[in-house]
Amino acid sequence: MSTGEVVTPKPAPGAGMDQRIIAALGSGERPPRASAVNSSLTFGWRALLKIKHVPEQLFDVTMFPIMFTLMFTYVFGGAVSGSPKEYLQYALPGILVQTIIFITMYTAMTINQDIEKGVFDRIRSLPVWRPSLLVGALLGDTLRYLMASTIVLVVGVLIGYRAPGGFVGVIGAVGLLLIFCFSLSWLWLILGLKVRTPNAVMGMAMMILFPLTFVSSVFAPPETMPGWLQSFVDVNPVTLLVEAARGLMNDSPDGGDILFVLGASAVLVVVFAPIALRMYNRKS
């Protein structure tokens, strides 16, 4: 396989390497231990670097929201609300919520890949504040959620969505959504730590996410559903999240819904964060 390249002679690799390694070792004074904030931010930086090197991972973040928004608006819009335009007004806050909630499962995928590749073990053998890997990963994910939210909103506005709640209402809805997703991510961390392969994680996450997002008020008003289904829809936290977001974006914020979402987020963190941290520390 001759490529005709001119090969410049180089010193044999490894020549004098041992001397240089001893020199590099010798100068290794011990810096002060990294603070919890610094190590968490460093892991967040790693998440950004991964986005830079593997831009494909942004495909889901960008394509799914656009696809969902267009598909649901034009496929179901006429049937559900009479016209796509009216349906968009109803459904966009729901599509926003659904898109971001779906993206949360990548938290599980990322941690699972780290375990599979051995990065996890390397990191856990370091003298750093142990939860910083998890916190940093969640910080990186939050950035992803923010990007996806922006895309959904921009596409929505382009095809005619107008938020009566204005900029403040939209920011409020996105903020609430990020809080909920950050809290939900602890559940995904548990899944990511527990399940053996990234593919299995994906499968399990889908099984949880599809019913949770579709059997809610995301795409259709619950009043049109059979009673037995309504009773599930009404207690589904996603419904309440969608209602709270819808209220904020429609300039009719419902304090009860918002409080419920904040409460549910707190419960998610209080219940799942200690389990995730415990599993992380004892992961075998």
Binding site: M17, I21, L25, P31, S125, S284
Partner: protein, 322 residues
């Protein structure tokens, strides 16, 4: 130096029904290389993971550099480094980014981290590949960046888990050189390997592990001596002569000849190497032609066979996913 870098007593780890590590006692002196040798699935990696505080033992105790691995895990972590098949770098990031990441996590400031990463890349001959993603590295480069990542802060003890598995001979020699350099600079190394030659080359002392238990311990010379003082290998010019040569050598040396799978080779264990010359002379006197012969210490392969009743290389059980 009589300090112990690692001391374990009755260390046990159970995965479900399987006792992956089943009462391991080790006394590993500080300084030098200590080899843990065993086939796949013997419990080497599980033992290391417990010593590196990644896994809590189900029984027994272990102290690393004087600190208990369970109660003083943070102390242990600040003084050891782990490199190997199962403790790796992020292959999506570049070599430089990986070292920056580790330097920052060890507490270096941004500027100091940059200087440290550059210094390490140069020391390990990776300067040219600094801005390439680690997944594009060759096997040898990969292992070098892994080791570089482990000495960002000089560790007192380094765990090297099968550092040369899957490497070509040149890269393997480089890794060996690095290991010797680290030892020269005063780091204690605990090395696991399934290659007998590697343990023979690098390790000052060796523990042989099989089915989660230490079945032998000592210097390479001691382990070999426990099998016999050496072996003579003879290759005859004409395979038809082999049985006659085997018989003559067996008589002269008072040992049982072993017919090798090579139809022209025969080997015998000898207790008195000085008798070999006479025995070969006697074969010549009978008009039989020997094309090659060698006299050497038993290889660790033979040691392993003698200790476990099976050769080291043929036990390809699957490693317990830990």
């Amino acid at each position: 130096m009589t300090d112990l870098a690692i001391e374990t007593a009755g260390l046990v780890k159970v995965f479900g029904e399987m006792r992956a590590v089943d009462g391991v006692d080790l006394q590993i002196p500080a300084g030098g290389v200590y080899g843990v040798l065993g086939p796949n699935g013997a419990g080497k990696t599980t033992t290391i993971r417990m010593l590196a505080t990644l896994l809590e033992p189900d029984g027994g105790t272990a102290t690393v550099l004087g600190h208990d691995v369970v109660r003083e895990a943070a102390e242990v972590r600040s003084r050891v480094a782990l490199t190997g098949q199962f403790a790796s770098l992020d292959e999506d990031l570049t070599g430089m980014e990986n070292l920056l990441l580790l330097s920052r996590l060890y507490g270096y400031s941004r500027a100091a981290a940059k200087a440290r990463a550059t210094e390490l890349l140069a020391a390990f001959d990776l300067g040219d590949a600094a801005n390439k993603q680690v997944k594009a590295y060759s096997g040898g480069m990969r292992r070098r960046i892994d080791i570089a990542g482990s000495i960002v802060v000089r560790p007192d003890l380094m765990f090297l888990d099968e550092p040369t598995t899957g490497l070509d001979p040149r890269s393997r020699n480089q890794v060996w050189e690095i290991v010797r350099a680290l030892v020269g600079a005063g780091t204690t190394i605990l090395l696991t390997t399934q290659y007998l030659e590697e343990a023979d080359q690098l390790a000052d002392r060796i523990a042989v592990i099989d089915h989660g238990k230490v079945i032998a311990e000592g210097t390479s010379g001691q382990l070999k001596a426990s099998v016999g003082s050496g072996a003579v290998k003879v290759r005859v010019a004409d395979p038809a002569d082999r049985s006659e040569v085997a018989r003559l050598l067996g008589e002269s040396l008072g040992a049982e000849p072993v017919l090798e799978s090579d139809p022209a080779s025969v080997s015998l264990r000898v207790s008195d190497p000085t008798a070999v010359a006479g025995a070969l002379q006697r074969v010549g006197d009978h008009g039989l032609v020997i094309s090659e012969y060698s006299l050497g210490q038993p290889s660790l392969d033979e040691v392993f066979l003698a200790l476990t009743g099976r050769p080291a290389e043929e036990t390809q059980e699957k490693e317990v996913p830990a």
